[in-house]
């Protein structure tokens, strides 16, 4: 696990054109996530990842960030159908090139005496954190671009990953520099 080996992994994979990001503002009401998920399954659209959280202090609205597999249906059709849901207030479409995307991963890795320092070093190289330490396990955390998380996850597979949880992406539009 040398830095040279790491450098061989492309830092920023070209985002797959199959995927598009929808930033969906919804009313924060019971069942709304189920309405969105149900729409995707009954119309045969594929969700690649999905993240949801309230957006404002009074929690009237939530934002659902959905990464859509646009090979299963034209993006336009997905948006039009979503827009018909009464609880969906607005839909923003973000192409990967015009968005900042972040994701977080938590992973618990079984480590012997030799692996322990290797994993800690790997986490350091990626700019992650060790968030919990056990006698023979470490739980590590990394937040970053989804591609970076992919790379990190790929390298962790050289060790014994006991549990791994990704959040799914959240995204906002890139700011104009001018």
């Amino acid at each position: 696990m040398t830095p040279a080996h790491l450098a061989a992994v492309p830092d920023e994979k070209a985002a797959s054109p199959r995927h598009h990001i929808l930033s969906v503002l919804v009313e924060n009401k019971a069942g709304v996530l189920s309405r969105v998920a149900g729409l995707f399954s009954r119309r045969g659209f594929n969700i690649y990842s999905l993240a949801v959280a309230p957006t404002d202090e009074d929690e009237h609205f939530s934002r659902i960030t959905i990464v859509v597999d646009v090979e299963t249906a034209p993006l336009e059709q997905v948006i039009m159908q979503l827009d018909k849901l009464v609880n969906v207030v607005s839909i923003g479409e973000l192409s990967p090139a015009e968005a900042v995307e972040r994701e977080l991963v938590l992973a618990t890795v079984a480590v012997g005496p030799t692996e322990r320092s290797q994993v800690i070093q790997l986490v350091g190289v990626f700019g992650g954190e060790v968030v919990s330490v056990g006698a023979d396990r470490l739980t590590v955390m990394l937040a970053g671009r989804p591609e970076k998380i992919d790379d990190f996850e790929g390298l962790l597979e050289h060790y014994t990953v006991v549990e791994l949880q990704r959040t799914g992406r959240v995204a906002l539009p890139k700011l104009d520099r001018h």
Binding site: E27, A30, L39, V86, N87, V89
Partner: protein, 576 residues
């Protein structure tokens, strides 16, 4: 003014102008049935909740007003799932109110508990589970607003029993803003730039067709459509959901397209170079194999639901808007062009169309076998009926014959289950239609298989003095399935035989308080119809024992191109 939730619900329905509702009480909805005694709303007690839903649909389809049905929790609610699915497919405004177990019991598998908002999420335009008694008037107003605006559709309000019993301070929302629908903005007007592009395409077409769907009826656009058709001289096809939107007696009417459509309607769409689709959705039963559908046609697609534009076929000009408003905009755009012709010379196109009409009219062999021909029953019913008679179809062969052989000259005179294909629709839907239009004659044209699914609602009709007329085209089979097994499964008939006389339909009708009539030979048909038409104080059921082997033609087999339309064998032989 303080009311209980139940009183507030009924008062809200009254505020919405509801004059009739269909339902059946039970445990969880009991509190709401008490204030019905004191209400101006007529409640019609059904014998099965599915009947309540279809009656409300029939009522909505002939009046244009939303139909209202009320049921209890659990099985009461699940029994009305089929009407909700049916109304969703056919964009019928339907309001269903279901009782629910008390809020404290939700999630405990309580007696007659069912997560009906979860069950109906995919088959309602929206649904609500009311958790605060104060929300009742607002939710009822929102439910009516959602059901009746934009693309109409069914909604469901689930009301827990403790909320119905709780006290609340009465109010009534007076503006759309108070309905708390921040994500609901139905479109109405069409984009004028796109309307102008549509007018350009119409002006350039050599073989245009107006492809008219149910949206024209929902938009109350039949008059506007007629003006557009007559202004342009373009031929018109009306889909199964749009029968009556344009008069069949009009020289520009080509009839119905689709799997069992008129040969000329199907073929005109196929050979067209411009389809002007108004409130239609390119359903697979119309298009046949989609990749082979109208291959040379450009598409103007007008629909109030933007998601329909490009869902199946990408339009050249897609206009999201109300059909009536868009047609009127189109006519205005044409008028603004002054003396310039709005269309090319369509005479060659009409010459071609007239050839098809002459060669392949609707056809059946009147004499073959000596049995009553189902098509002939429809023709005789039609000829004996008043001009504005409402016809209600079930689902199957009889439905296709009714849609083919009736002459629909007025909007809202044809009620049937199109998208969902719900067998058993006709009896309850005809009752709802008669309740909505008591001044009209209502004939249901039903099949024997369909009739057996929901016939018990004739008890409701008798008890409530709703004199509908039911014609059973009794061929002793699940006829459409039998036809497919004959044509596509090598005549291997699997589980399609019913029986001509089990049950005895006349006795059954009489047991339900109806007049029962039987017609066994072609000579019996006329007198049976005459007798049925003379009765208007109770429901009538006529059992027409029809030829079991008759098939529906023309036919485009499922998944085939419309180019491969199959006509009656006699016609095919003559054409060779």
């Amino acid at each position: 003014m303080q009311l209980t939730g139940a009183q507030a619900l009924i008062k809200s329905l009254e505020m919405q102008g509801v004059d009739v509702m269909f339902g059946l009480p039970g445990g969880a909805i009991l509190p709401v049935y008490d204030p019905i005694i004191d209400s101006s709303i007529r409640h019609i007690l059904v014998r099965h909740e599915q009947g309540a839903g279809h009656m409300a649909e029939g009522y909505a389809m002939v009046t244009g007003k939303p139909g209202v049905a009320m049921v209890t929790s659990g099985p009461g609610a699940t029994n009305i799932v089929t009407p909700l699915a049916n109304a969703y497919m056919d964009s019928t405004p339907l309001i269903v109110i279901s009782g629910q177990v008390a809020t404290g019991s939700i999630g405990t598998d309580a007696f007659q508990e069912c997560d009906i908002t979860g069950v109906t999420m995919g088959i309602t335009k929206h649904n609500w589970l009311i958790k605060e008694v104060q929300d009742i008037p607002r939710v009822v107003a929102a439910a009516f607003h959602v059901a009746t605006t934009g693309r109409p559709g069914p909604v469901l309000i689930d009301l827990p029993k403790d909320i119905a019993n709780a006290p609340m301070e009465w109010y009534w929302p007076t503006s759309v803003e108070e309905l708390d629908l921040p994500g609901y903005h139905p479109v109405t007007d069409g984009d004028p730039v796109l309307v102008a592009q549509a007018a350009d395409l119409i002006g350039a077409a050599h073989r245009p067709v107006l492809y008219v769907g149910g949206g024209v009826l929902k938009a109350r656009a039949a008059e506007a459509l007629r003006a557009l058709a007559e202004r342009t001289g373009i031929p018109v096809v009306t889909t199964l959901m749009a029968r009556g939107a344009f008069p069949d007696s009009h020289p520009q009417a080509l009839g119905m397209p689709g799997m069992h459509g008129h040969y000329t309607a199907v073929t005109a769409l196929q050979r067209s170079d411009l389809l002007i689709s108004l409130g239609a959705r390119f359903d697979d039963r119309v298009t046949g194999k989609i990749s082979a559908f109208a291959p040379e046609a450009k598409i103007i697609h007008v629909d109030i639901d933007p998601a329909e534009l490009g869902k199946v076929r990408r339009p050249d000009v897609g206009i999201a808007g109300d059909c009536r408003l868009v047609i009127e905009e189109l006519l205005t755009a044409m008028t603004a062009r002054g003396d310039a012709p709005v269309v090319r010379d369509l005479a060659p196109w009409w010459a071609q169309i007239h050839q098809w009409q002459e060669k392949f009219p609707l056809y059946y062999d009147h004499a073959e076998g000596g049995a009553i021909k189902p098509q002939n029953v429809v023709e005789q019913l039609r000829d004996a009926a008043p001009e504005d008679c409402i016809v209600v179809g079930g689902v199957g062969q009889h439905q296709m014959w009714a849609s083919q052989y009736w002459e629909f000259n007025h909007p809202y005179t044809w009620v049937n289950s199109g998208g969902a294909g719900t067998m058993g629709f006709a009896v309850p839907a005809s009752i709802g239609a008669k309740v909505g239009r008591p001044d009209r004659t209502v004939w249901a044209i039903d099949g024997d298989g369909c009739f057996q699914m929901t016939a018990q609602e004739l008890v409701t009709a008798t008890a409530e003095q709703i004199p509908v007329k039911i014609a059973i085209l009794n061929n002793a089979y699940l006829g459409m399935v039998r036809q497919w097994q004959e044509m596509f499964y090598g005549e291997r008939y699997s589980e399609v035989y019913l029986s001509p006389d089990l049950p005895d339909y006349v006795k059954w009708a009489e047991a339900m308080g109806c007049v029962g009539i039987r017609a066994e030979t072609p000579e019996d048909v006329g007198p049976a119809i005459e007798k049925a038409n003379s009765i208007d104080d109770r429901p009538v059921v006529v059992d027409f024992r029809t030829d079991a082997f008759e098939k529906v033609f023309p036919m485009v087999a499922a998944g085939q191109s419309n180019d491969d339309i199959v006509v009656h064998p006699d016609q095919a032989a003559r054409a060779r």
